[in-house]
């Protein structure tokens, strides 16, 4: 075992685990960040999506040794991350848009969807239907038909653009 240090949701952490342990398991079982979900364990469903130095990754495919020194953002860090606007119920603007549009149903794909959506917005993505669909094409949802998820990300993109009060 080796100690790996990285930043999780703005907090420096150190975990003493085998280097090939999945980041997903480290987050859920060592750091008690159970908001990140496992849907398939083989990188197909995207439920375990987190941002690794700002880029969306399937945390089930990332061994923790690759995370040393990096910055990890999970769903638990969304509303508290700096530069986020506060929304209702302590949600950031993307979470708030999901709540308003009905973008979350059973909620199991939601954390991964939010992280993919966050990366899209942080990359300057706008309220364009096809671009949003491409950004979340690695995240499966079985409840919504994606309509309201796309709508939520578009709403957040528009609000961030300042055109909505």
């Amino acid at each position: 075992m080796t100690a790996y240090r990285f930043t999780a949701n703005g907090t420096p952490v150190e975990v003493d685990v085998p280097g090939m342990r999945r980041l997903l398991d480290v987050l859920r079982e060592e750091l008690a960040l159970t908001g990140t979900k496992e849907g398939c364990g083989e990188g197909e469903c995207g439920a375990c999506t987190v941002l690794l130095d700002g880029a969306p990754v399937d945390s089930c495919l990332v061994p923790v040794c690759q995370v040393a020194g990096a910055t990890v953002l999970t769903v638990e860090g969304l509303a508290t991350a700096p530069t986020r606007h506060g929304g209702p119920e302590g949600l950031d603007e993307l979470q708030s848009a999901f709540l308003l549009t009905g973008g979350a149903q059973c909620g199991i794909c939601t954390p991964g969807m939010l992280m993919a959506g966050r990366a899209y917005l942080d990359g300057g993505g706008g309220p364009d239907d096809l671009a949003i669909r491409e950004a979340i094409a690695g995240n499966l949802c079985r409840c919504t038909g994606y309509t309201k998820i796309v709508e939520a990300i578009a709403m957040a993109a528009t609000r961030r653009g300042g055109s909505i009060q």
Binding site: K37, E44, L91, F98, Q105, C106, L140, Y146
Partner: protein, 786 residues
Amino acid sequence: MAELTTRTAAPAPVVVEPRTISLGRARAAAPLRREGPAKLTGAAKYADDLVVPGAWYGATIRSTDAHARFVKLDLDPAFDWSSVVVVSAADIPGENIVSSIKADQPILVPLGGEIMHHAEPLALLAAPDRATLRAARRAVKVLAAPLEPVFDPRDSDHVFAAYEIAAGDPEAAFAAADLVFEGEYRVGHQEQLYIENNAMIAVPGEDGGVTVTGSLQCPYYVHSALKLGLGLDDRGARVVQAETGGGFGGKEEYPSLVALHAALLAGKAGRPVRMIYDRHEDIAATTKRHPAIVRHRTGVTHDGRLIAQEIDVVMDGGAYCTLTPVVLSRGALHAGGPYRCPNVRIRAKATRTNTPPNGAFRGFGAPQVEFAAETQLNRIAEALGLSPLDIRRRNVYRVGDTTPTGQILRESVAAEEVLERAAEAAEFERLRARHDSARERRAGSGTVPGSPLRTGHERIASGVGLALGWHGAGFTGSGEVKLGSVASLELTAEGAIRILTASTEMGQGTRTVLPQLVAEALAVPIESIELAAQDTAYVPDSGPTVASRTTMVVGGLLIKAARRLREAVEEATGGPFAATYGVFARTHGALRIDQRFEPYPDISFDDETYRGDAYPAFSWAACVARVDVELDTGEVHVLDVVAADDSGRVIHPVLAEGQVEGGTLQAVGYATIEEIKLHDGRYLNDRLATYIIPTALDAPRITTILVEAPFSGAPHGAKGVGELPMDVGAPAVVAAIADATGAWITDLPASPERILAAITGAPGVAPLPPGASERAAGAGRTEPAR
């Protein structure tokens, strides 16, 4: 059609807290999803998120044969078994039966018993950590003596259920018909593919009882299963629903088995056990939508009126009965489609095969038969030179019509309205005319060998397709009366208003809609309504969360309970409920109203003869799909879908739209890409890498039109919505493919292989029929469990 939208027969519209959405499509105000913030921040606890100190990890040893005699469970003596618990059938304290309709499915196959399907549970293991568990699994060998399997449901002599519905004189009508059409349609397995796999955590109690917490739709189904299998009483078995990441019917009956396994291990280990399936195990072992073979013979007049229908339905039940008789029943009752036809004979049977048991999945037997009925009707329209819209206008059910079971449709019949609304919004006739001319232009001009439609100029053909469907609201026949479900509402001594039901939230919105209905009936803010956890220690049996019945039936019970509560309080205090219930609670103490289901007036069904009112009401849906077909590859892109759905009074437009959009996409997946391939009764594509569901890029743009034809038997006028959209998406997509290419795909999914086989007239290209299993020489091997 005017009566379809009139609201005079229904109660006043539900008034909800106004919330405005500043962007997005205009819609009525509705409360926000109650557990939404928890789901959006990662705080919501699904089963695998729960930390249970000291819990061991459980695993299931499964058969690798489709049909065999279980000879021996061989535990490697070189392995250290001291820290592993092994459970076999001999350890089961109660009956070795998974409680369901028939007592045919064992919790674990006993030694010497008959293995009936691949991936059948034979033994259980638990270990303190995952590494030990993995090692223990490798140290187990299963010895089994192969038996001859049956894979074709038509070859099976074991019938789970059979029904016959007859009306009029079909033979005389066929003789009198201007034209008679025959068609055969086949559909295969479909996986529910909730994104959260099955998961249960069992905690043994000091009194010999057990508490099981997990992902499930029906707490009292699991409760019954624990009582029977573990020999427990009502209090000894306790079932708690964790946050549940999707169900779609897939967590209706199977969780009983997972819970039993976790509880057996926990009992023997004397400590909590986590039984968390991975995706591979979940797809390999759990229930699927029933494959079906549906044959139609239809007699029509020259002007397109249906005068005779003969329909044969064979469903593949898999190895055990599960809910098959009820699935088949719904299939039989919906088989003719939403059309007036005086002379009908429907014969339906479901048989046993040596494949994993099939069970509940959104639509519950209706999507299979409605795909067949709608495709048959569309082909008849084409043969008669009629528009798909016109042939439906001539036959569609209207108020006063009679169904094949003799049910008179007295009210809430919106078939014609959903049809017209969807066709108009999608510009169905205009698009169809355009495609007709494109097809004529292309005909015979194919320039690429093997692709008669492909020209140098046109690589893609566009099409539009229409389907209409109906879905009986709530349980079939007398199911609701027999169940006699109870929902409760409690004003506590502390002045809290609390809903007590076993109705589960799995994404569809139970936890938002039920408080909304109660708040409206009590004229209090929705925030003042609490909802008790779905825990059998506290909530009454309000029935399973299935059959699109929760808002309609349980919501209706709660409204009645709320009215009684309000009356009692207002009578005692002399003031309005909202202003006086706090005072009432302080002075009178707690008041609990238990509301039991009462039969709908003038609704009755005879389960023996299959005559009468099969459902208290029907929901109605129309779907128009637009597709592009790539003529070189046979690939289909479903571009957009217009869905018009009537589910009675819409209680929560956002959640209702969510149901229509999600159900529509599941139907599009069923139509185009979702297919289970079998080899010797084993699912070959039992991973998410190989069982494909639509992504955001595959998904069409979905436009939902909510039509409201209220049902007077429910105090709020609501019917069911959850399953409805699943019934119409597939036939609409297949009709659109035919509009584009001229080829009718009669087997689902309409995969590129099937489309190419159809448009090139080369059936050899097509894969095996849906649901069929490949056979290998020397089928039925004996090999170690994985």
